[in-house]
Amino acid sequence: MSITYLEAIREAQAHALRDDPRVFIYGQDVGAFGGAFKATKNLQKEFPGRVIDAPISEDAIIGLAVGTAIEGMRPIIEMQFADFSTVAFNQIVNQASTLFWRTNVPCPITVRLPFGGTSGSGPFHSQCLEAIYAHYPGLVVLTPATVEDAYSMLLAAVALDDPVIFCEHKFLYYHLKAEKLPSEALPIGKARIAREGRDLTIVTYSAMVHEALAAADELATEGWQVEVVDLRSIKPLDTDTVVASVARTGRLLCVGEAWPWGGVTAEVIARVSAESYGLLDAPPQRLNAKDTPVPYHPNLWAAHRPTARSVAAAARKLIRF
């Protein structure tokens, strides 16, 4: 029996709906249709009245979620694509993320964003917005890279009293499978050592974890042991685990699928440079998508973002410094 990343997300939502009457799901096409990616398939049938279709009104969707949160509910909002969440940007960053700080009333909403690129999805169905949301105080931003984390971190997100931006990678939805769902997990805010090494640290998250692991395999055949750190949560960011890894290896490569300017990779490097400069045996490096919108054509798309091959090349350069 194997379970995909998407099925894990569905299972987590079913689990949440079952265990907590305050939880409900709201979003476009989530009801009978089961969601654009089938993340809520059959949930409306199993939990009548708690999986509700919304009009194409991302702003009002989040505003409504905040209102229900004030009343003690715990809404799970499915944005059809992360790229469309920008229509709700104001409500997310000005309404949801400031509510607790302004009024002491918590805002326990979970906003699920199908994010990241797949071949042919183009500029408006591929974006990675974790850095934009992480920039605003008051939000928790999560980026599970494994089936197990997709499950447990979504459950943890719903249980958190703060607004969570839950970034689910579309490419991993059907491509990533696991044997079974976990019964325990690392807490939110802790990164995971996905692969131990001693020559170089790659810090990354979500789908790029898998590219990094493939790159590490390639480098292993050349005699290098690359350590891969899966951040798991972007905010809060587990600087301690990153620093401990750099302490072991002395070399840091940050990889992200998002654009370079002000991205997660920039944040990690800023922290390590400022706080642990003396651990670096080489200048810290980062690898991101090219600074253009995400292209549609597969040829262009394949070159736009980091791949196992480009990660390996960057790692090799850094190892040779």
């Binding site: 651990l279 045996d281 597969p298 394949a302 480009s310 960057a314």
Partner: protein, 397 residues
Amino acid sequence: MPQISIIMPQLGESIAEAAIINFLVKPGDQVEGGQDLIEVETNKATMTVTAPCGGRIESFSAQLNESYAVGDVLGKIEATKEEAARFGLDVPAPTKSCDPETVTNQPRNGTGSRVEPTIRGLPVPANASGASYMSPRLKARMHELGLSAADLAGIAGSGAAGRVTVEDFEKFMANLETQKLTKASSMRVAVADAMRRSWTRPIATVGLPVQIDAVLAHRKTCDPKPGPALYALRALAVALAENSAVAGRLVGCNIVHPSAIDVGFAVEAEDGVLVPVLRGADKKPLKELVLRYNELVELARQRKLPADATGGSVATVTNFGTFGLIWATPIPLPEQTIVLGLGAGRKMPHWDEAKGQFVPVMEAYLTLSFDHRVLDGGAAGRLLLRISDLMRHPEKL
């Protein structure tokens, strides 16, 4: 006749694969371009794979109820060249969709610009060679262990441009553990530090042989007998009193002038060198310096020098002649500009112009090492000449 592949098409957002549920035609059938060939099922819906062009079904490699990924070959159609051209299939297509290596390494149509990954070359600093470029981590480790760049001179760096990486360093340190190690005395460490600091300046040396017959004769007339080095010391002090600028120190663009002619002299102590100081050596004649000099030598040897007896000197004299050395290039103390060295005296032939022959004289080499930022050869040479003159008339010292 060209064989055109039947490929599993893109079936929708994020669909990775589909299962074959029905073959609508069989090998040997004649089909038209766009005709439905195979029914497949994704987790969202049932869809069909259509013929890429008209032709005869050559074979199906896909099997019923098996799943195939987007881009997999499911079968072949044999088509005429014209038919293939009509559908634009005569140009070979990439066998896998979006494999970045295929794309970047085999550009089509001769437009061969390589696509570089989004990373710039790592900056290798201009002085990143050997032990002179030290990464922050290396510096931190060295600081932790109390090491300086001089200690790393023996490490061949494996990093870019030969820099010493932390791995090189740790290997070097680990390797040390396998060798015989004794603890350096604190004296040794202090001297090492002083010499290393001194060496950060450009040091040069000039030398001059001096006849010491007069000095040796004068010694015999004294009680207690002054050491030969004391004559050199006193001569240096007198010369400095005449022109103290040569003992000035350069700090930035200022010369710091000596405030008093305090001259030190090197005494070998266990595992190191101590430098007791004769204060105001220009103010007292040699005879008055002897007792104090001898006292200081003894105290130094026993390492019982009081604090006020060292430090603050503006020049130093070192007598390596006692080791039998005739010539050496001493290193000035880091806070001093000059050091005067005295070699061993030897009987040397000296051409006597008046007699027209070589006559034996006792000769010793004076060497003056100096911070070349403060002095040039000329000034150094003049100082030596003056000292030499003074030493040939020891009764005046």
